[in-house]
């Protein structure tokens, strides 16, 4: 049967089992919107800004392992979406972006709402397509879903000119697709895996460093089994939190710029490092030269060869899906009957416990002001450690990462690679939609929340009972912290003046707002809020303005050159 391009788009989404599309209409996508209107399998969520659409699709994907889909119009619709696309790209999140384009005959004419979408988004997508012929549309959308989800995941964009949505073609949705130029290696090399296992079994001071790849690949169970079987210490990157249980005694906390003292020390001083789906980011190991000053063997499992030996040369590279590689390692270890050197491990653990005695996440629990860390600890208690927590970017993000102990993957939803302020609230919408009934908290700051505050309106429309935890320090705290440490206390433009009354603002959007000013009121306010299962509650915590995030490795320094709270 002949279908229009717009009908084909919707049929493709149905075939892919897409239940939600996040979007915003406009001229170039009106045909597609008209077809959306005529069916009810694919539900549309109308955001208030295209950035929000992409972050929502992103949060939807991160919390569910499904592909997020967003639909925006040409020109300004696309340019507004770019921040969201780049955010997803940096964290390897599988999205399919459908964008409207001016009609094919108008391309290149500086037409109304024309922009070079493929050109603008090229550096921040895994791949993109411009569909010039309606006969290619279904196959292209199939390819987009395939590319987004296989190998190293990422956003894929399909740009569809308006005339293509009108033109007709025979529709059939391909069951499978293959591209001769795209064949990611998925199975790790057995010889390399054997070598890795040997190294692990011989290690005296081992360390497991696991990142976002574990979460993306749903390999938390395998990682957990391996770490427990070996009795090794394990740390997670910011993106890997929940990939290993945060409450497990073998977990040493996050590592990196704001990682724990013990994780960073163990990362530096280990003799064998197992890196799993993590990319030796500059926020993690600081200066690579400094990191390499200590001698150690590194095993690195990653699906993307370009992640391996990019910043740090490794000894045993293993390209493949982490889950499969870990499975193979487990089999080898279990069947070998060998176990690591218990005595060596014991003395390594006692060294680690010595580092843990620094109690690097301690803070003033008796303060008369609300300490942001305290709010997160209470949030953890009251939600039973089982909430989905999204966050924005800044100090509050780091505190959420440090003090909320994630036992499960896909519960911690944040922008790590791009560090996008404005991510938290729209991401929470996606999380809530794909996890109806679940507890969803958005930990944010008074600066970040204002970057996508308009989405409060979307939350109202779709009855999304998100709990917003605003750690309001009246500063761009993370910026202020750097200015305090490295710019002689010159707080250039990091003060948030003329803040709105967040309570009234929440109310204006039809939600509940609560301002909390005393430490004694924190627990009660959180409890009350989380009892309201049907409503969005905006909790505005007026926190200690001067609080800083510790430990801190200053930019470009070595991992062990941490500034600790007690040293100031």
């Amino acid at each position: 049967m002949q279908l229009t391009g717009a009908e084909i788009v919707i049929r493709c989404l149905q075939e892919e089992g897409v239940d939600y599309v996040f979007g915003y209409p406009g001229g170039a996508v009106l045909n597609i919107y008209d077809e959306l209107f005529k069916q009810d399998k694919v539900k549309h969520v109308l955001v208030r800004h295209e950035q929000g659409a992409v972050h929502a699709a992103d949060g939807y994907s991160r919390s569910s392992q499904k592909v997020g889909v967003a639909l925006v119009t040409s020109g300004p619709g696309v340019t507004n979406a770019v921040t969201g696309i780049a955010t997803a790209y940096m964290d390897s999140i599988p999205l399919v972006m459908l964008t409207g384009q001016v009609p094919t005959h108008a391309i290149g004419q500086d037409a109304f709402q024309e922009c070079d979408t493929v050109g603008i988004t090229r550096p921040c997508v895994k791949h993109n397509f411009l569909v010039k012929d309606v006969n290619d549309l279904a196959l292209t959308i199939k390819k987009a879903f395939y590319l987004a989800t296989t190998g190293r995941p990422g956003p894929v964009l399909v740009d569809i000119p308006k005339d293509v949505t009108q033109a007709k073609a025979e529709f059939s949705y391909p069951k499978t697709v293959s591209l001769r130029s795209y064949n990611p290696v998925t199975r790790g090399h057995t010889g390399q895996i054997k070598k890795a296992v040997q190294l692990l079994l011989e290690a005296k001071r081992p360390m497991v460093y696991a990142g976002g790849g574990v979460v993306l690949n749903n390999a938390a169970p395998q990682l957990t089994r391996l770490v427990r079987l070996l009795g090794f210490p394990c740390t997670n990157t910011l993106m890997g939190l929940g990939g290993f249980p945060g409450t497990d005694p073998q977990f040493t906390g996050m590592l990196g710029m704001h990682g724990t003292y013990e994780s960073n020390m163990a990362m530096q001083h280990c003799d064998v490092l197992l890196a799993v789906g993590a990319r030796f980011d500059d926020r993690v190991i600081g200066d690579p030269a400094n990191y390499l000053r200590t001698d150690r063997k590194i095993i690195h499992i990653d699906i993307d060869p370009s992640s391996i030996s990019k910043r740090v040369k490794v000894d045993v590279p293993i390209v493949g899906y982490v889950g499969d590689v870990l499975d193979e390692m487990l089999k080898l270890i279990e069947s070998s009957g060998q176990r690591p050197d218990a005595a060596a491990l014991k003395s390594w653990w006692s060294e680690i416990k010595e580092w843990q005695r620094k109690d690097c996440l301690n803070y003033d629990r008796k303060s008369a002001l609300i300490k942001p860390q305290f709010v997160i600890e209470k949030l953890y208690e009251i939600t039973g450690g089982d909430a989905f927590v999204t966050s924005d970017v800044g100090q509050h993000q780091m505190w959420a990462a440090q003090y909320y102990k994630f036992d499960k993957p896909r519960r911690w939803i944040n922008s790590g690679g791009l560090g996008t302020m404005g991510f938290g609230l729209p991401a929470a919408m996606g999380v809530q939609l794909v996890n109806p009934g679940a507890t969803v908290a958005c930990v944010t700051g008074e600066a970040s929340i204002q970057m996508c505050i308009q989405e409060l309106s979307t939350c109202k429309q779709y009855h999304l009972p998100i709990k917003i935890v605003n750690l309001n320090n009246r500063y761009m705290g993370m910026v202020r912290q750097w200015q305090q440490f490295f710019y002689g206390n010159r707080y250039a433009e990091s003060y948030m003046d003329a803040l709105p009354d967040f309570v009234k603002l929440a109310e204006a959007y039809g939600h509940t707002g609560v301002k909390v000013e005393k430490p004694g009121d924190v627990e009660g306010a959180l409890k009350d809020a989380f009892k309201q299962k049907e409503r969005l509650v905006f909790l505005d915590f007026i926190t200690d303005q001067t609080e800083n995030v510790f430990p801190m490795v200053p930019g470009g320094k070595g991992l062990t050159e941490m500034i600790l709270a007690e040293e100031l």
Partner: protein, 163 residues
């Protein structure tokens, strides 16, 4: 170190800008880039001459392979290979210089493609350094115009790049 990369890429609109964009975005060098379709019209072959340490070249190769439209990448400089570049050069050739210029072109196995009473247009092929040598051999003042294609390369013997 100078490296010469050969790339098979889907002959699709945008593939070239993806590749050149990769080099500029990641701060890699391009000394020259040539591209044209192969005997199989669905594919183009590109030759990129770049400089970088082994680590950088390793990253370039991995990043190129990551591009969805790139079918295959090899570093020709890893083994024996042949490298050729084409240059067209227009030189002033009048009076007593005229014979001298013709002799020089012959020495370099060039051919004169176009002649006026004041100029020659000479075609030369060879490695980049041979072309450089020619330009150095003639007086800079007589060069009116040069145009070079950049290097194309192919493996020697049984070394073949195809899918």
């Amino acid at each position: 170190m100078r490296h010469i990369l050969s790339i098979l890429v889907e002959n699709e609109a945008g593939a070239l800008s993806r590749i050149s964009g990769l080099f500029s975005a990641r701060g890699y060098n391009i000394e020259s880039l040539t591209v044209a379709p192969t005997e199989d019209a669905t594919m183009s072959r590109m030759t990129i001459v770049t400089v970088g340490s082994d680590d950088v070249i390793e990253q370039i190769t991995k990043q190129l392979n990551k591009l969805v439209e790139v079918v295959k990448v090899i570093d020709l400089s890893d083994g024996n290979h042949i490298e050729r570049e084409l240059m067209l050069v227009k030189v002033r050739a009048a009076g007593k210089d005229r014979d001298e210029m013709k002799r020089l072109a012959e020495i370099f196995r060039g051919s004169i493609l176009d002649v006026t009473d004041k100029s020659y247009t000479i075609e030369l092929t060879g490695t980049g350094s041979k072309l450089d040598a020619f330009l150095q051999a003639i007086e800079p003042g007589v060069i009116l115009e040069t145009v070079r294609t950049g290097a194309s390369g192919i493996g020697r013997g049984e070394r073949i790049l195809r899918i």
